[in-house]
């Protein structure tokens, strides 16, 4: 389990799900943000415009009623100055230098009559002449020398002059900026927080799924008695675990049934076989005549073959149902194979065959010793039975990519074409084969039961090649692939 939790979080489904969720959340936030910004900007402008309209009316009244004497400029100027102090959205810390508000009165000919504001107002006057400003309808005015436009309201006075009141949009924009910044920071932290929540929640949920996956794969490999972990909550994942466990219950009971059938079959056949064999053996020493003993000996041999066939058939049947019972122990193939080859070598020599073995380092598997011994004996028996005199057999054992590879090659005639695809099916055998056609099926069944594979092919140079791959025992380091270890039959 530890090896799997260590995999990078960046590749986990939880990470992807949280990324997508966050993206969706962020998109939503941006839409809300734009909408709010628009709404706020519009509202601020509306308030500014209301103020401007109100003030320009007051100023118009004042300008109308004040007699046009020497004091006119001062009275109107002071009223305008006072009005500018009440500017909405005013930055409290800003100096009183009044460049955010201007007051302008023009004569009938459009010349400047009165200016209250920063500078001499010529630039503003030029801008006003270029723009039509309707009364009671505040308008944006771009004055050269100012980056930020002014909002300007105007009023016609009875004496034919016009007054203009302008307010810089600077304060308005500053308020908007400040709001945007706060909103941006808030939504960013919300998004990050949301991402974290989604990531943790999905990871927690998916860790249950991973627990189920790991337990299921463990069960698939070894014992059917354990179950995947379940949670108390009644959500989809808990239901998945429950469904899996129900399925495992059924599989276990089916396998148990199969075991009962094979056990009964084995028992019912073995008991009479034991009795017959024993009686035959008992009768042997009494027979002194060679010729008379011959049929008894032959019968015993037949019985042994029958027993072997029975065992193999049941093994194959159980293995094909993934129900073969294994008693695993550590086996070093590079100790077993030399013993096997040593055992078979004289028989091979006697038949005019030669055999060579290549083993690189310890190659350990956790396997059922009796089954693996019989599997290898089957492969060697095959060569011994089917190979023509003068041929060679090459056996190579090596560790590769977590698997113990046992490759057996010969330079005989190879498999009959068309037989290759059905090689591992029961009862398939070569035309000249005298066996019961279970040999390679058994090899396949054993490899499969151990989580391995068998492949058979005809070599390009002629001859057969069978490769058995069994998972290496845990903890045995995989030796780097050594090209010298891949051996081939020298012709």
């Amino acid at each position: 389990m530890s090896s799997k939790t260590a995999r990078p979080a960046l590749r986990s489904a939880a990470w992807r799900i949280s990324l997508w969720a966050t993206l969706a959340f962020a998109c939503g936030t941006i839409v809300v943000f734009v909408f709010l910004q628009r709404f706020l900007a519009h509202d601020i402008q509306r308030r500014t415009d209301a103020w401007l309209s109100g003030e320009v009316e007051v100023l118009g009244d004042v300008a109308e009623r004040t007699p046009k004497d020497a004091l006119y400029d001062r009275v109107v100027g002071e009223v305008a100055e006072l009005a500018s102090r009440e500017v909405p959205n005013r930055d409290a810390g800003a100096t009183l230098s009044n460049d955010s508000v201007f007051f302008l009165q023009t004569g009938r000919d459009g010349s400047m009559e009165l200016w209250v504001g920063a500078g001499n107002g010529q630039a503003t006057l030029a801008a006003i002449r270029k723009t039509t400003i309707l009364p009671d309808q505040p308008t944006d005015l771009h004055v050269s020398g100012f980056a930020i436009p002014f909002r300007v309201a105007s009023d016609q006075i009875a004496d034919g002059t016009r007054i203009y009141l302008g307010l810089s949009e600077r304060d308005e924009l500053r308020v908007l900026h400040r709001l945007s910044l706060r909103f941006f920071l808030l939504s960013l932290s919300l998004i990050l927080f949301g991402f974290l929540i989604v990531f943790l929640a999905t990871r927690r949920m998916l860790s249950h799924v991973r627990g189920i996956t790991e337990a299921a794969s463990r069960i698939g490999h070894s014992d059917l008695t354990t179950r995947v972990p379940t949670t108390n909550r009644n959500d989809e994942i808990a239901q998945l675990a429950l469904t899996l466990n129900h399925m495992l219950d059924r599989i276990e009971s089916t396998v148990h049934q199969l075991h009962t059938i094979t056990d009964t079959l084995a028992h019912d056949l073995r008991s009479p076989l034991t009795a017959i064999r024993g009686k035959l053996e008992m009768s042997l020493p009494g027979v002194s005549d060679e010729a008379a003993a011959e049929p008894i000996v032959a019968a015993i041999d037949e019985l042994d073959r029958l027993t072997d066939f029975l065992n193999k058939s049941l093994d194959v049947a159980e293995a094909q149902a993934d129900a073969l019972r294994l008693t695993r122990e550590e086996i070093n193939l590079c100790e077993l194979l030399p013993a096997m080859v040593d055992l078979y070598e004289p028989s091979m020599t006697e038949r005019g065959l030669s055999i060579q073995l290549q083993c690189s380092g310890p190659v350990k598997v956790m396997a059922d010793a009796a089954l693996v011994h019989r599997m290898i004996a089957n492969l060697l028996d095959n060569e011994l039975k089917h190979l023509a005199p003068g041929m060679r057999v090459a056996v190579a054992v090596r560790a590769e990519n977590g698997f113990a590879i046992l490759a057996m090659e010969d330079n005989g005639i190879g498999f009959e074409p068309g037989m290759l695809e059905h090689l591992f099916e029961a009862r398939v055998k070569g035309r000249n084969s005298s066996g019961h056609g279970l040999g390679l099926t058994f090899v396949h069944a054993v490899a499969r039961a151990h989580g391995g594979t068998v492949t058979a092919a005809n070599r390009s140079g002629g001859g057969a090649r069978i490769v058995v791959a069994l998972p290496l025992a845990e903890g045995s380091a995989t030796a780097p692939h050594n090209p010298a270890a891949s051996l081939s039959v020298a012709d």
Partner: protein, 222 residues
């Protein structure tokens, strides 16, 4: 004591055990076996796992509770080796699958009895007629002449000598000499024996290694 419910098997086992020199008491079910065990003391027990009234393992455990110390040879026709049987095996008892060769049954009985007997000390030399094996130097001498044996051939001859006068089967040889647990389909063992015989039994000498057809091999001790 032999506990076996199938009368056919019981009768031939009894006969062959008696021929091999054992005194045999038979029981066909667990109850009789318990009664027999309470009345007599036995050197070794042979128990079939499939008894009509109770499981063989249960019987063995009950006998152990009754204070029966004798080693047990378990016979079974089942396919899988029960974990409980494996536990007994580790406790010094042995296990044999049906069908079996009589020779193998006898060999295992001898082993069980030997294990229980006071140790005779490790042998360093074996002598059978005019054949002598030096187990330390791994050399075999017959009639004063050193035999040119390979290590494997010496191991095979040693195994035959240790069981001189008794039949050993091919699968016993495979298990003990090569450590391989198979029922040979081909004549692999016979070829080894044939080669060994060529070196051990010279011309004009009395042949030592005899083939017991249908059973196995025996190294003659007289």
């Amino acid at each position: 004591m032999l506990v076996e419910d199938e009368s056919d098997i019981q009768s031939f086992l009894r006969r062959s055990l008696e021929e091999a020199g054992y005194v045999v008491d038979c029981a066909a079910d667990g109850k009789t076996a318990e009664k027999l065990a309470a009345e007599h003391s036995f050197d070794v027990l042979i128990v079939d796992l499939g008894l009509p009234d109770q499981d063989g393992i249960t019987l063995i455990l009950r006998l152990r509770q009754m204070g029966v110390q004798a080693p047990v040879l378990i016979l079974s026709a089942r396919r899988s080796v029960d974990d409980r049987v494996r536990g007994l095996e580790q406790g010094g008892d042995d296990y044999l699958t049906k069908p079996f060769a009589l020779a193998e049954l006898l060999a295992r009985l001898r082993n069980l009895l030997k294990r229980n007997a006071p140790g005779a000390g490790e042998l360093t030399r074996l002598r059978v007629q005019d054949l002598e094996l030096d187990l330390l130097r791994r050399e075999a001498i017959r009639a004063g002449k050193l035999l040119p044996l390979t290590q494997q051939e010496f191991a095979l001859l040693e195994y035959l000598c240790r069981n001189a006068g008794r039949v050993v089967t091919r699968s016993m040889i495979l298990d003990q000499v090569w450590g391989i647990r198979i029922q040979p389909e081909t004549n692999v063992v016979d070829v080894h024996i044939y080669r060994l015989r060529g070196k051990v039994d010279g011309k004009g000498q009395q042949p030592l290694i005899r083939t017991m057809r249908g059973m196995g091999y025996v190294l003659e001790d007289r």
